[in-house]
Amino acid sequence: MSRLVIRSLRKSFDGTDIIKGVDLVVENREFCVFLGPSGCGKSTLLRLIAGLEDVDEGQILLDEDDITDLPAVRRDLAMVFQSYALYPHMTVRDNMSFALKLAKADNATIDAKVGKAAKILALEPLLDRKPAALSGGQRQRVAIGRAIVREPRVFLFDEPLSNLDAALRVQTRLEIARLHQELNATMVYVTHDQVEAMTLADKVAVFNEGRIEQVGSPLDLYRRPVNRFVAGFLGMPQMNFLPLTTANGGYTLANGAAVALPAGLDAGSGATLGIRPEHLVICEGDDARPGVRLDGKLTVVERLGSETYAYVDIPSIGTLTVRAEGDFERGAGRGVCVRLDTTHAHLFDAKGVAIHHP
């Protein structure tokens, strides 16, 4: 059992508040991802959990134990660093067995555990090399191996894939997912890459400026973001945001087009409509499908092969991002229209809080 509970945690550096009151529960065997923009305090929170930084206020509980003031040495957590942080003077084998030796495990146990981890990570041929003689991907696997042999209560990862190239990143991501199933361990994983968060997580905590904006399963956050920040942060390309104005008891877009909101919904003034690129449609000349028709011009067309992102400039509204099919043929400069079906729209009030999901 390793259930991690964080209660109203606060931390400041030199008078600047970095973690501004965080509450979070990571269940036993759960894969929890901290997601957020650079500088929002994800690493700091992870280091607080690890015991590498001192807590200012609040509590960290691991199962029934209060570990808030326990030194890192005695927390029995393993951390995989972004820089790998391998011991350069030790072989791969010694890197992986260091913790066990410190814990005075006997040689047979050490050999068995290192051998098992090396096998899982395909490190067996590299056991007698020094880190300097390994590629980036191999170093990363050693860093993970060093964590595995410990059989820690919780695994902590700080952007472990950010130094790998794109192909290796995908491969290692799959490996970590497989590892999580195999080891059945509690894992906390920091990243600013939403693809990693969406693919790996059981639970995602979205951070912004030292606070958690929302916690939930990846799809839950994608479908029902609680505010504009989460809505904008998850999704590639970003959700489109269109300001609404009130007119004659109804709502209009900035160009005057009336939009029908679901019955009985009062967004107040200063509301914003949010719609994801996949829910907008590029339409033909006189398309009669439901929704608001907006005329504009294609400015940029990004073709990814499987799909196409069309950026359409709408007078007095701005640029909308539309996801189209991979065989989308029209090029930049063409006049097109975009159909906005409000049944797929999210609504945010003047403060950015979500008041309606599709």
């Binding site: 690890a50 590498l52 040495v73 957590l77 942080a85 011991y87 003077h89 410190l102």
Partner: protein, 276 residues
């Protein structure tokens, strides 16, 4: 193809230049060595002779007149002791400065270095009086402590820069692996920086070995190291160049040999930050 001859020429020029610089740097030691095998008359002759009949007379006389081994032993004990004592203080100090800095760390480091700017003679009287009151005049212990203290700023600075080159992540990884401060130092930090530590220790050893100001002023015979022996040949009966050279050769031979043997380590340590 056309490039090849010019490249070879450049290499030759570089080689000649390196040899020249090497020779200039080495010349004083070579000259001392040559002079030590001359008669006093040859040593004085102008223009100097490069070819002469070598003699061991100077060495004979020196060994007859003074107990070389006594002085050598004092040098070994004081320089070695100062190095050990200095390292024992400098390593933890540099560790604290490098990995647990405070707002004032930079200032303290600068202040430490500034103590090196004070000429030793400025504190001669107080230190002499302290040693006298502690009954430590002409004692090896006093020299050990003083040598260690005067080298400490440089040692701390050197080790501090080596430590700064080691990413703190590695030490944090050790902490996560269950290593306390002591184990982190002994199993991770010191092994990683052993090249730098070795060159720091060697530098301290050489500086202490060749130190003469405090050796001359605080010792008479009992604790006098080799540098004091050298000095004793320079004045009383006028200058004897050949004997002075011989005793100097004897004085610096051990440390020269040590430096020679460890030069690879030394160079590696001194360029540690540059090549990583």
């Amino acid at each position: 193809m056309a490039k090849k001859p010019t490249r070879r020429l450049a290499r030759t020029v570089r080689a000649i230049a390196s040899w020249l610089v090497g020779l200039i740097v080495f010349f004083p030691i070579l000259w001392m060595l040559l002079t030590s095998f001359k008669t006093e008359l040859d040593a004085f002759s102008m223009p100097p002779h490069f070819v002469f009949a070598p003699t061991l007379e100077n060495y004979e006389q020196i060994l007859k007149r003074a107990n070389y081994l006594h002085y050598a032993w004092n040098s070994i004990v004081t320089a070695g002791g100062a190095t050990i004592l200095g390292m024992l203080v400098a390593v933890p100090a540099a560790f604290a400065f490098a990995y647990h800095p405070t707002l004032r760390t930079k200032n303290i480091l600068l202040w430490m270095l500034s103590t090196k700017m004070l000429p030793g003679v400025g504190v001669l009287v107080p230190i002499y009086l302290i040693c006298r009151d502690l009954n430590m005049l002409d004692s090896r212990t006093a020299l050990i402590v003083i040598f260690a203290l005067i080298n400490l700023p440089i040692m701390v600075w050197m080790i501090y820069t080596y430590f700064r080159d080691i990413p703190i992540d590695i030490l944090e990884a050790a902490r996560m692996d269950g290593a306390g401060t002591w184990k982190t130092m002994s199993r991770v930090l010191i092994p990683i920086s052993r090249g730098g530590l070795a060159s720091t220790a060697l530098l301290c050893l050489i500086l202490s070995w060749n130190e003469s100001f405090w050796s001359l002023n605080l010792t008479t015979s009992n604790a006098a190291p080799l540098s004091a022996l050298v000095a004793s040949f320079s004045s009383p009966e006028g200058l004897f160049w050949a004997k002075l050279s011989a005793v100097s050769t004897l004085a610096c031979a051990p440390i020269l040999v040590l430096g020679w043997l460890s030069q690879r380590q030394l160079v590696r340590g001194l360029t540690f930050g540059a090549v990583k």
